[in-house]
């Protein structure tokens, strides 16, 4: 018995030793990525949060930080009409984009899954815009939307709809909508690819079984395909929402938030505040970042709860 206990103890000690070595090796391999993530993500996040409570000035070449508590946050919510407008624009953008990109992306995915010819061509063509950078898009669409020599107005005039030609990015009533169209055109291919992967993973036996039961066309899509890719649609919706709530570069290149703040987003306002307000008080800009970070997190959690289905289908 004692011998058996000794043997078990020896085995256990040896195994624990192996585990320690193995654990050390794992930690060693994880360390660079963890360090990277900590330095480039966690530390700036925490530091930004800290800056939110400060008023920053430079006095005789030295940075002076003054603790102001919640004053920045109070101003953001109760005395900053620019933030309210920017937040409204960002949320409008997110909602409108979700309403456009998700149905169109899903539809394209379903069409592609049923298409019998030129599948690769259409998949590539519809995905291509995703590869373009927002800077390029901003320049490109600024020219397309130009009032005088823009391609869109030229097309409208060519087909006898010249009365609809207007400076799309130059008036408050159309500027935001024009940019929403740009991002929808840009990202719908991504949603399509996500949903296409999900649709492709549905076994064909389910379709066959449904057909046997008399389901055709639209009923197949609505009752079989869509429920089975619901979680993918949820993921895509959350990604679209987060992406549009953060948007900055397209606006910066195309309109800089104008005209009259009609396309100002929280992203552009933060940069304006940090670098172009003629003050060095980055505390306020940090507070704006903090508020919006929390807002995006809350929206993500809410959307996740609303859209994600806990059901697991086994097939």
């Amino acid at each position: 018995m004692a011998r058996e206990a000794l043997r078990k103890k020896a085995v256990s000690t040896g195994e624990k030793g192996i585990m320690k070595v193995r654990g050390g090796v794992i930690a060693l391999f994880l360390a660079p990525a963890t360090l990277f993530y900590t330095v480039l993500v966690i530390y700036p996040l925490v530091y930004n949060f800290y800056l939110s409570f400060l008023r920053i000035r430079a006095v005789e070449g030295t940075i002076v930080e003054q603790w102001v508590g919640l004053r920045h946050f109070e101003r953001i919510f109760f005395d900053d009409p620019v933030f309210i407008q920017a937040a409204g624009n960002s949320l409008t953008w997110a909602v409108a984009s979700a309403l456009i990109e998700i149905p169109v992306g899903v539809l394209l995915a379903i069409v592609l899954s049923r298409l019998k010819f030129l599948v690769r061509f259409f998949r590539t063509a519809w995905f291509m815009p995703v590869l373009l950078s927002y800077v390029l898009l901003g320049q490109l669409w600024s020219w397309i939307y130009r009032g005088d020599i823009g391609l869109l107005n030229a097309l409208l005039r060519a087909i006898g709809l010249g009365s609809l030609a207007q400076p799309w990015l130059g008036q408050t009533s159309t500027a935001l909508g024009a940019l929403i169209v740009v991002t929808a055109w840009h990202w719908v291919g991504f949603t399509m690819v996500l949903c296409l992967a999900a649709v492709s993973s549905i076994p064909s036996e389910l379709d066959d079984a449904a057909r046997i039961d008399g389901a055709t066309g639209w009923r197949l899509t609505w009752d079989i395909t869509l429920p089975l890719i619901r979680n993918t649609i949820a993921t895509a919706t959350i990604l679209v929402f987060i992406g549009r709530m953060k948007i900055f570069d397209l606006v910066w290149v195309a309109t800089r938030g104008g005209p009259l703040g009609a396309t100002e987003t929280v992203g552009t306002y933060i940069v304006q505040r940090a670098f172009f307000f003629g003050t060095l008080d980055q505390g306020y800009a940090a507070a704006l970042s903090t508020v919006w970070f929390v807002a995006i997190m809350v929206v993500s959690v809410v959307l996740n709860r609303m859209l994600w289905s806990p059901e697991r289908y086994e097939y």
Partner: protein, 463 residues
Amino acid sequence: MSTPKNPTGDLGGLTRRESLRLLGTGAMATLGGGVLALHDPAPAATPVPQQTAAATAAPKVVGPASITFWSMWASEPGKRKFVDDTIAAYQTAHPGIKITVTWYEKAPLNQALTTAFMAGSGAPDMFYEDVITYNQFIDSGWMADLKGKLDENQFPLEGFEVSMRRPGKVYGVPLEGIISTVWYNAKIFRDMGITVPDSRQMTQKEFETVMDQVKAKGLIPLAGGAADTAWGGFHGSSFIMRVAGKDKFSGLLDKRTTWSDPDVVQGLRLAKSWFEKGYFNDTIQTLKATEAYQLFFQRKTAMIYVGSFLLSNATNPPDKGGAPTDFEFGVMMFPSVDGGKGNRLIGNRTGGMYSVYSKSKYIDICADFLNFMGRPEGAVAWMQYTNVPTWLKAPAGAKVHPMLTEQLKLLETYERQNPELTNRLFNNEGAAFNKWVGSGMFDKSVTVEQMVKELTDARRRDA
């Protein structure tokens, strides 16, 4: 032989608890190490070196030195040539001193400078500065006071100090002068029988009659580009300056004048009226200022109201955005307005200047370089390379572009005043001015009353 039973279960020999513990330890260790490594304890306050009494002789320059220099004008070949040639000549005369220049456009330069200054490292020894940020940089103590180090025979420092509103201090070399005039196409005017008075200034009625005539001919009377809200703001502030006069106009900057002052409101109304009468291009809301130049060079518009830097663009080769070689320029004053207290004012301000970092090790060498740049030959070279005025003193009779000569004559006739409010108003008030005057001036839905209300509210929020 049987496979040894994994004694602890999943994850390659580690339980989930052990794996998480390991990851957490690793993360805490790296976080702690990272924080310790990166945390910069609050730097001890470094007092700005006190300036000694002014010395009349140029300071002695001691090398070796490697000086970093950040400049705007990345896409302006004339100004780049001036700076490059000056550096080359200085380095030849001062072996052991090397000056490395990095070229930027304006917005990225200001961001880079702000970031470097606030970080306390990586800032250049010398840098371009202008009205957008020099006030905050001076107030923050990042610009060296060069009083006593610059050759006061060569730089008109009194006027410059007034321009920068820092009596007794000199924070840079005023290299580029900007004179704001109305540029017109002399051939269009001649063909239409329009003559400019000898005083080079029309009344508002005469000017609007000219614009009506031009409009009737199917041309755009006045080109503008309000996508750069700076230009839109300049248009608004020029009218305010005309109506309100020098003192009240300056009062907007130090808050002595309210936005609801009747003269200010009248100035905004007159500015808005030109838009409402259709005197500008339809694309004004989306066009950048430099794109508006093209309307002028392509003869689609008879006039454009901008600073003297237009000539620098105009003299580029046509395939690089310049005017056709047979283009006939003319300049005149912004028109006078009825009862205006500022009708004799000509818009004049410092454009680009070069400054020295207050914490540079080479302040004296930089000042010596700037003296070298500002010598009479430098002034002439600047005007000949760039066709832009300079505050540097050029010898009489220097051969420069005839249009530059015409502008300089106007400076001798009229009283100088910085016409800008854009970039001299800061924080919420500055942003509101750019938005509601710079952009809102050219939006039909925005009224002057709304502009005044928004500007007043913005000033309250800054208080």
